[in-house]
Amino acid sequence: MQRRTFIQTALYTVAIGRLLGSCKPVKKIPGKILGASAKIGHLLRDGYKGEVRSVIQKKIVIIGGGVSGLSAARELTRNGISDFILLDLEEKAGGNAAYGVNNSSAYPLGAHYIPTPNNDLKEYLQFLQECNVIIGYDDQNLPQYNELYLCFDSQERLFINGRWQEGLIPHYGVPSTDIEQLNRFLRLMDNFRNQKGTDEKDAFAIPVCNSSKDEIFTALDEITMSEWMDKNGFNSEYLRWYVNYCCRDDFGTTYQKASAWAGIHYFAGRKGKGANAHHSDVITWPEGNGFLVNALKQKTGSNIQCDALAVKIKSLDEGLVVEYLDTKTNTLHRIEAEQCIVAVPQFVAARLLQDDKRKKLVHEKCKYVPWLVANLQLPSLYEGKGVELSWDNVIYNSNSLGYVDATHQLLQQNTLVKNLTYYLPLTNGDCSSARKDASNKTHAQWCELVLADLEKVHPGIRESVKEINIMLWGHAMMQPLPGIIHGNLLPQLAASINERIHFAHADIAGISIFEEAFYQGIAAARKIIQHSPISNT
């Protein structure tokens, strides 16, 4: 009773505040728009011309310091190769796993967790053991995960029918017929998870390229997820919301556009099992995947050159040249090398190679979705009924994916000021107009958009928020549209050129997840280690 009176009072206060607020100018919220150096990047699009100031020689150049580039660098280093340079246009390498830090905690600006790894990924598990995410193996040879990094309870909650329920699969206030459909769907996904093709390969594997090529499965890549659901009689609104949420979460693509194969892979690809973790568990850090990126960088740090925008790759008869712009001094430099790993998205690769045919192909087929990631620093949060603040907090039927509490994995009891990281894939309309739209928005407009969404579940958040930093990813990930994963486009784009230029990026894998990028990097590095004269000496 006391509590209710208090909440009512709080609500009235907020309501009155709002009334008063309507006659006052809107509160200006501190913060800024960060971006993956869109302006610098566009120098490449617009064609950069200048005089070369210096020339150096390196055996290998890696272009791009995201997960795939860093993974390639790590693989080279592990094999005793140190004569390479990695160019990254940002101030700090890390790609989509970028993060920020304020006085409360670190917080992700992009990718922020990994699911329990599949147990057949030897190199990946080894890497995780290197960085103390796996602390050993039990007597059944199951990895023992570091409990500091396994997501603490309570992991997920969903605001639905006026209440926070536990978990993201809708159940609170959901009619029993819908629950039955949800269960039928999840059982079907369990079946897919365990299914193998006639080629003895997993129907849905990670990396994607290890999946069975049986037509019964690859045919799923020809239709969209929503078409597949229609065919299978999955018409529950709740289920369709959930599947759409999942597709947007992992692929930045609505289920009306994503390939059914990709949509099912979201559920069926994950089969990891640890001594203390289940395939539905996640591993996370306040800084998100920045933790893993730092681990990847650990031994290769000195080979990384940041603020370096590669502008050109040119194949020569003997070797190749890479030119890059030092964005700090605005000077052009040239590297003469034998091998190159292009660990950037294909739309950038095509421009670097100055290959018009490739550019046209990428432009037509590859769609890169823009994402917004907003970090809100705030001291207090009005909470509604139900489960308490969790790591992942999702609002049913919101346009966003909800938010993650970056302070959740801190050991300390109480974090007085929280960092909430809000995710919004800009999936309305086509990618390029969404991107144009996004780049025209002001900080205040983004804040308004984020707050209007969160206000539904946290009245008063507008008054309590201290700072909002907006991270805009113009080309966050390539969409797994039908025909991408199992079509002939990706092999075409991924093929090495003259055995000198190799490609490594999650977009040529088809889906943008950590493991794909990690293995892309390793595969590219191994091509060099196996085929180049370097390894023969």
Binding site: T5, L150, Q155, E388, N414
Partner: protein
Amino acid sequence: MMQRKENGAQWLLLTAVFVIATCGLIYELVAGTLASYLLGDSVTQFSTIIGVYLFSMGIGSFLSRYFDKNLLAWFIKIELLVGVIGGFSAAILFVTFPMAASFRVILYALVTLTGILVGLEIPLLMRILQNKVEFKELVSRVFTFDYIGALLASLIFPLLLVPHLGLIRTSLFFGIMNVAVGWYLANHFKKELKQAAILKFSAIIILLLELVAFVFSENIMNYSETMNYNDKVVYAVSTPYQRIVITRNKRELRLFLNGNLQFSSADEYRYHEALVHPALSSVSNLKSVLVLGGGDGLAVREILKYKSVEKIILVDLDPAMTKIFSSQEMLRKINNNSLLNKKCTIENTDAFTWLKTNKEKFDAVVVDFPDPSNFSIGKLYSTIFYQLLKKAIATGGIAVIQSTSPYVAPKSFWCIDTTIQSSGLYTKAYHNMVPSFGEWGYIMAMPETEHHWFSKLPGDMKFINAGTMQQMFVFPEDMKAHEPLKINKLNNQALVNYFEEEWDKYQDM
């Protein structure tokens, strides 16, 4: 005609005397009651406050000789001042009480000031009226009204005001009466006063302030804890981490954190002796002790009974806790000034993060956290926490962990035991009866099993002796779990779930 007007003025001023007398006594009663609430020992509080108050009135009467001109204006000014100081006195005392050491100074300063001002009023009034009324009549009337006012105040205060208005609003209400009289006089005699407008204006401002405070205090009352506790709330403060509330009744003083009872002064010795002594009396070479939680200093009080102890580090998150328990007189009496002891170092930081960076080893560790009622406290009962704890225990050392009630919550209690064991420590569980809590449980955790059990018990104990020591380790059937229990980890928070399930049954009672 003239005569009637004079008469009217006279009666008006006498009414003022009546109001002033009532108000004056009310302020005195408010101060006395508040001091008894907050400091205890009502006989001493009331007699010293009445004494100081009457004496200050004497000072006031003496000072009245220095007022020569504009007596009416002075009278009104004093009226307003009494209205402000007396009116806000209860609020001021409640707010300043947490400032510990200076509280008595503030209390007696307020009483003195009010006394002086009230003491000034009657002599001034008599002089104002001396030319209008015959002296014999004057003295008779003034003092009659004065004493009637006093009687009224002493009757309505305990019967009507305290039960219905509470102390803060009682004093504000009479402040408002005081100021209203001042305003009315200023208005009525505006022709005889030079600065009538200024006086009236000040009166209205003060009146408004007190009205706002009056209304606001009611708002606070709506969700203040006074309703939730059976006893008088003598101290309440919200820190960024928790709500600290101290209540007192005739028998005992109780500490609540976020509404949960932490101790009652009547029987806390049973809890703290049981928490500290089984472990500490079994450590052969006891020099350094770590206390995690326990910002009330009561565990430290027990630890200090071991003369061999050279160093105690107390890690408690909330600086407000350790501050009041090292400065508040009544609380220092309970913990025997333990937090001020030179051997004791206080670190106000998160115990988990402190333990993570700690490199030192301790001969004994006393873990006295609140019950695992939510996820954030649940972390402090997890495998990772106990693994870190293990690293902080020296060879031959023992840690002890308060582990909720094995009677109410056997699964929670034994879940903590299971979790500690899974972190590579041996355990020894025990329990005792603490009337305020019920049956309470503790678990000793140690790297080795061999110890000279209870060989170094200090003498001055109220609960523990050789017999009770043996008895505490016997668990009846209804305090056992009777099922395999989960290990509490950061990523399953099994304990919080057990705890909720088991304590929920007791919530609705």
